[in-house]
């Protein structure tokens, strides 16, 4: 197998990178995508269904297409023959439905010929060579983007083995009394879900959640905020990432009114620790840190990559220093790329890494 680019990971971050490379002029025959499921939204779809998510937290440009225009608001406006989505988007109030997002993924999958480049294979090892990277026994690739996704669901240690526990991102129903551990977007969604089916809810949290429209302040999605971020020392940056990993969910009546009503009815309360509920839903997100991912752990250990706490040190363009030069590129995308882009685990973050990866590929002299 001899192709210019390989994408390790067939989830949404890999899909965004693939669409971006295609937009940049690469043919499907020039790209290899390695993943375990040809549906790029497969993992995400299961999680969204588990928490009964109906709308995206992201806005109009929270999609997988390489250019931000036309965004999902424009598509919704055309389909609904209404300017309302555009007005909502101008006011940062447009949040596409999950169905709209998944339809868009399906359309883009067909349009970009994703399946022609997809290879069902889990890559276990990325090894640097003189003019590229060897991916298991699949050959040598000059440019590789690694987007392995989240390394697994996170559970509080004290709840290990507790038969009452289910993770929010696993399929589940609701008991009459539910304790929800966590206070982020998934937890807030679960509070409303359980209340809607008549359950009583205890929110188990160690700290109060922040109320933010997106999971980071908006300026951190662009160079305006990133310039200062990239100038921080390693310790400052690690501290910054830890601080912004605190739970948050959007402000607004949609969230507050049902909770306030349930609080008045005695069906919603906050507690610092789990108690005796029949069901405990852990809305505690994902395991964090490269050591939880076998591929990344192996990559770091074999090549002695620089790390700080949970993070692999990257350049601002999401590439791995020391393994990237004029002849080869190793880039990370998705959650492991937070060192270069704090919102790396969002669709915007996937695009950030993908666009910079494309520039590296386009600058490759032999292409």
């Amino acid at each position: 197998m001899s192709r210019a680019c390989a994408i390790v990971g067939g989830g949404l971050a890999g899909f965004v990178a693939y669409a971006t490379l295609r937009r940049g002029g690469l043919e499907p025959t020039e790209i290899c995508v390695f993943g375990t499921n040809p549906d790029p939204a497969a993992a995400w779809r299961v999680r969204a269904a588990a928490i009964r998510q109906r709308r995206m937290r992201s806005e109009s440009d929270g999609h997988c297409a390489p250019a931000s225009f036309p965004g999902l608001a424009v598509r919704a406006a055309l389909r609904r023959r209404s300017v309302v989505p555009l007005v909502e988007s101008a006011c940062d109030r447009f949040h596409p439905t999950v169905e709209e997002f998944l339809e868009h993924v399906e359309e883009l999958r067909a349009k970009t010929s994703w399946d022609e480049s997809f290879h069902r294979s889990r890559i276990l090892r990325v090894r640097a060579a003189a003019d590229g990277f060897e991916l298991d026994d699949h050959g040598l690739f000059p440019h590789v983007l690694v987007a392995p996704g989240h390394p697994g669901l996170a559970f509080p240690e004290e709840l290990a083995g507790d038969p009452r526990v289910v993770h929010a991102y696993e399929p589940h129903e609701y008991a009459g009394q539910v304790e929800v551990v966590g206070a982020g977007m998934a937890a807030a969604t679960e509070w409303l879900n359980a209340l809607a089916v008549g359950a009583s809810v205890v929110s188990v949290r160690r700290r109060e959640p922040e109320r933010r429209a997106l999971n980071l302040p908006r300026e951190l999605f662009t160079r305006r905020g990133l310039a200062a971020y990239h100038e921080t020392s390693p310790e400052e940056r690690a501290g910054f990432l830890r601080r912004y990993s605190a739970p948050s969910y959007p402000p607004g009546r949609r969230w507050d009114e049902p909770l306030e009503r349930a609080r008045r009815e005695g069906r919603f309360q906050v507690a610092p620790a789990v108690d005796g509920a029949r069901q405990i839903i852990c809305a505690t997100g994902f395991k964090r840190g490269y050591r939880n991912d076998a591929l990344l752990r192996c990559l770091v250990d074999e090549h002695q990559l620089e790390t700080v706490d949970d993070w692999i040190v990257l350049t601002p363009d999401s590439t791995v220093p020391g393994l990237t030069d004029a002849e080869r590129t190793l880039a990370l995308a998705g959650a492991p790329a937070q060192w270069s882009y704090p919102a790396a685990d969002t669709l915007m973050g996937a695009k950030y890494a993908a666009r910079r990866f494309l520039r590296k590929v386009q600058a490759w002299p032999t292409r």
């Binding site: 440009d61 931000s68 225009f69 988007s89 662009t222 160079r223 305006r224 905020g225 695009k351």
Partner: protein
Amino acid sequence: MAYTLRGRLESRLAVVLAPLLAACVVTLALKAWWPVELAGLMLALGVALDLMLYHRLLPYQPGWAALPLGLLELAAVMGLGRVLHIGAPLAAALAFYAGAWLLAQVLGHAVFPVVRLSYGEDGGELGRVGAGAAAAAVVVLAAAAGVAWETQPPVVRLAAGVHQGPLVLDRSQRLVGEPGAIVRGGIVVTADDVTVQDVTVLGGENGIEVEHAERVLLERVHVVDAVLDGINVRRSQVTIRDCSVTSLESEYGQGIDISFSADLAPSVVEGCLLTGGQEGIFADSVHAMLKENRVRDTTLRGITVTEMAMAGVKDNDVQDVLGIGIYCGDYSMCDVHDNTITGVRSDPESSDSMRQGYAIVSHYWAHVDAEGNDIAGSPRTLGVFADARATSE
């Protein structure tokens, strides 16, 4: 979008490039500088706001903010345009601004993100395209400024003292009088793009004559002792500002007479003091704006608009005139708004029923729209004659 400062400036310069080029084309077509001046003013104001205000106050700028910021900049552009005497017609200026604003929205939201994939996350920066567009905008503006400078009419300084006329201005030029500069015997303008400023004219058959000329500006000119009209304009387009006409020798003379130029751009008479003669301002078959003038002691009418003319007559002060204050006749259309008309006297020697001291008259198929006029000391207010019409609040 969370713009970086460079992103704001690059985006601003890139979106203004097309309007700037369009302004250059319109300038060439109209032979008038206001389109380029307006585009330059829009750009300069926008850059100043980016540097001093927007970057600090708006770390994140939601899409809806484009509307209030656009209106803010529109108000500032219009205000500064007035202060700087950019002679842009209001409707054209608004249309130009609206077109440029819409284009900016389309480019910013739809075109730039497609042309440069990382436009949003780069905070509006356009990379080499941005630098090129910025350079091109600066070059276009500099070229326009150079052409403007090169084609400026020569300035002729008229020293203090009395100069024997008539002076005939048959080439484009600026005639600027030093304090105390007087021309005896009149000035005749026959060329386009002539400006006469700060000159007193003594005598002459007409104090100042303008014939077959466009874009003529008469500013702070003072006419005394003309035989017929103070300022006589034929088949021409003029702007007359802050002038005075007094002591006309002929009882048939008029302060300012602008006639037979309905096919030309509108003329403006603004801020003048016109004393004596038959009529203070006579506008015949023209498009004109007559505003903030003072008319005193005329013997036929204060202000006349006639013969299929279209005129705005606004904020004028007409006092102590005989017969009629403001007259609109012969198929003309007149917006007569916010004038002060006092002391119009009935003409005892005339049997004409219109001359019984009307402040405003609409005559012979003319149409007057009268609003907000302050009428006092006059026997009659609004008269409508011979199938004319009038509407009033």
